[in-house]
Symmetry: C2
Subunit: 480 residues, 2 copies
């Protein structure tokens, strides 16, 4: 059954929500009176399509349908989730929420992207107050997992379950408070930043460098308190607090005392920002940011930590059970090429073809019971020989798949033959891979367990009628 999301307000945030739903298979209706909305949304979608799918190591996402309307009634009437992202003015939000509630179903979830308003404020005068809650996202919404949920317990629990299906990390805020949690920190930093610029201490670029070369890197993987727990060292968290406690009475910030946003200060920030980033257009900056985020989030994914652990959980939850006729080559990989796999030639680096084939070998291992439990028990397969032929280029954001044939399954030897294809069935590369069963204790070869051997035998026997792969003469290789 397909789900429908109605996105009310199609700016950068609304567009990000649309992309998040659409690329996870939801049908999306966007309601925005702006004549430019369709163009703006399509730019956000293009950014999302080149970055989000590559965060998964298993799936090729099936997009839902996308429609536009200028009527809230049309947008919300069949929607399961309605997301309000209109300007941050309470009277506009009240008006839009009332219009939504007079046309939506009783079971629909109505989230607001508000940065600062509390649910009790949004709910003022509403027909069904408990249906309305805060679902505060972070830009770019299609990549960053955090969503702050604030509202009635029953509603936010339902909303959390939906957002987890979209690969997000919903954080239920238990007590409503102005600006929720994250934006309180952002507001504090913003105020301090304005003072530093006004007082001529630092430029926008110097401030950004002070963040991204130092604590910004720490906070991308552990937050404030886990970082300080480490700083406390063996003496512990209490020691840390005691050590830094006295600073609280020192003049280290001047935060509540707000600088006036004079024309001069605004001008000075804008011109410093031009100096810092003006060589890139906003579109270019967005793509640089997205490529950086994908690369870092994939790095954390390999460590199974922070935002990377969220990605792994999502991959596991949605891992497709590839339907297999084991008498035919097995579909071992279906995925999208991430930006961090490409090189200076503008295509996927040769070593990443090797990684795809390595992953394909892992899938066969897993199918025959040489899975993570088997590895924990001290046995595995090591690759000892790989012969890869490169037939065609492939690029970031392209969907590929791999078909694998078991050529030999004899004692400790397992020989696989992989073929990698582009979505249009064009052959991209082949790999003849020899794996050897090993003991992880001795790091030497040994016979596999009986259960694994039996499954391998069955697989090998089922495929014994398949023609053996032949080398394609070089003269027929596409690139040559």
């Amino acid at each position: 059954m397909s789900h429908v999301a109605a996105i009310i307000g199609g700016g950068v945030i609304g567009g990000g929500w649309a992309a998040r739903f659409l690329l996870n298979g939801w049908d999306v209706v966007i309601c925005d009176p702006d004549a430019e909305a369709e163009r703006k949304i399509s730019e956000v979608l293009n950014n999302a399509r080149r970055s989000l799918p590559a965060l998964s190591d298993h799936r090729v996402m099936q997009e839902g349908s996308l429609t536009f309307t200028d009527s809230i009634a049309t947008a919300v009437s069949h929607a399961d989730w309605i997301q309000e992202s209109v300007p941050e003015r309470l009277e506009i939000k009240h008006q839009v929420l009332a219009e939504i509630q007079s046309h939506c179903t009783a079971g629909a979830l109505i989230g607001s992207s508000t940065s600062g308003f509390k649910p009790s404020e949004l709910q003022q005068g509403a027909a069904t107050p408990q249906q309305i809650f805060v679902a505060h996202p972070f830009n770019p919404v299609y990549l960053l997992p955090l969503i702050e949920l604030v509202g009635e317990a029953e509603t936010t629990v339902r909303a959390k379950a939906v957002l987890e299906q979209l690969g997000m990390a919903p954080l239920i805020v238990r007590k409503e408070i102005d600006a929720h949690i994250a934006d309180r920190f952002l507001e504090a930093v913003w105020r301090e930043g304005l003072w530093l610029i006004k007082d001529g201490i630092a430029t926008t670029e110097e401030i950004d460098d002070a963040i991204r070369y130092g604590f910004g890197l720490r906070w991308a993987q552990m937050g404030l308190f886990e970082t300080y727990r480490i700083a406390g060292g063996e003496a512990g968290m209490k020691h840390f607090i005691e050590q830094f406690g006295p600073c609280l009475s020192w003049p280290w910030t001047k935060l509540m005392d707000v600088p006036e946003l004079t024309d001069e200060l605004v001008e000075s920030i804008a011109s410093q920002s031009d100096q810092q980033s003006g060589q890139f257009s906003i579109r270019e900056l967005e793509r640089i940011r997205d490529d950086n985020l994908v690369a870092m989030m994939r790095a954390l994914k390999a460590r199974n930590w922070g935002a990377g652990a969220i990605l792994n959980a999502d991959d596991i939850a949605k891992k497709p059970a590839l339907p297999q006729d084991i008498s035919q080559p097995l579909t071992t990989i279906e995925r999208v090429i991430p930006i961090d796999w490409t090189d200076y030639n503008g295509h996927m680096n040769e070593s990443r073809y090797g990684q795809v084939f390595s992953d394909a070998g892992d899938v066969v291992m897993s199918m025959v019971g040489a899975d993570s439990d088997y590895i924990d028990a001290g046995f595995s397969y090591f690759t000892v020989d790989n012969h890869i032929t490169y037939r065609n280029e492939t690029h970031a954001a392209e969907a590929i798949y791999v078909r694998t044939q078991v050529l030999q399954a004899q004692g400790k030897k397992l020989r696989l033959y992989h073929e990698m294809f582009r979505d249009n069935k064009e052959l991209l590369a082949t790999c003849n891979q020899l794996l050897i069963h090993v003991s992880l204790e001795t790091r030497r070869s040994c016979e596999p367990g009986a259960a694994v051997m039996a499954k391998l035998d069955a697989l090998h026997t089922a495929q014994s009628q398949l023609p053996k792969p032949e080398s394609l003469p070089e003269s027929q290789w596409q690139m040559l």
Copy 2:
């Protein structure tokens, strides 16, 4: 000529400084009265040795010598750089700085790791005030590039040049201010965090999640202002400020109003932190943090952005001119295995052997003039066939090198044979690699330029007397 750094105060910060200098070839003298100093420093050094060297793609670092003393006079008398990292109490700092100045040379640089004191405060009563400056690092000092430098212009410029040699990103703060720049933000966030816990809005873990799943990821690669520039979109930075300007008068923070650090609040933070992170020891958390940082910084390195751009600049500045007798196999790679190249088997993944050989091929291309200018002009080599044999395992933090022989250089065909060795000359893998010269416009093969062809011919001719590689019989492979 070797340089000497004197580290006064051997805690986590002093230890991090020691590692940074030592692993960059400086001789280091550590002065700390603590009987435990040597053990504590060795733990920091172990962490540094398994993470810092792998940030470079070219170098195997040569460590300097390390000695301990309990005399400041002994430590500083021959030091080029003296780094004070004693407790954050002004009278202790004055005492230590006076002792340092009565024994160091006039040309020595004296940096203080202080988080909050201004240079004018540190310099009070000093014999040579301008010699003393703030060099404020961020934990872990051996990985994070940021250093805030505050002091006399001439001194900080000299200090900046030294720190850049250590691969760091020194930020000269032009006007002195309590807590410099970064710690003003950290203090603001810390105060806000204490309130959220005291008011029961969020736990330490919820706060950390609100950071690391959202804006923390943004700040690891762009800071505050570049992020907001993007948020402003096509309408620009001024539009953004106008949009969020009004919030400054809203109750989004309660910062200057400092919560009292009662026993109850301290206890509550400590027990929430135990709940969140108590399943890991501090040592484990340090290594998780370092592995995350290395993986993310390497991800940014591939994007040549932020902290990754600093790493690339450092690699280029220090790229060793590998001395080559071209009649022998060429040394194409000397490097350390990074943690993000290992897999669930606890060793370097098969695809990363492929990456090392891909990099080795790039070095040969560069040697014969098929370098980045050549690629910009529209020509390159693509790999079309790789045959890798895996002879032995290798692990994170191990030093390896590759020797490369040119087997064929004929028209558009270039065939290389690479052998990868562990530092102890043990053979790890071989690769027979066929590259084809291509036009990047047509994406089809074509003849290389005359200059490249001439250099390739010279290389191939010089190596023509070398024995051709023979396949080692499988029976002699180490792992089997």
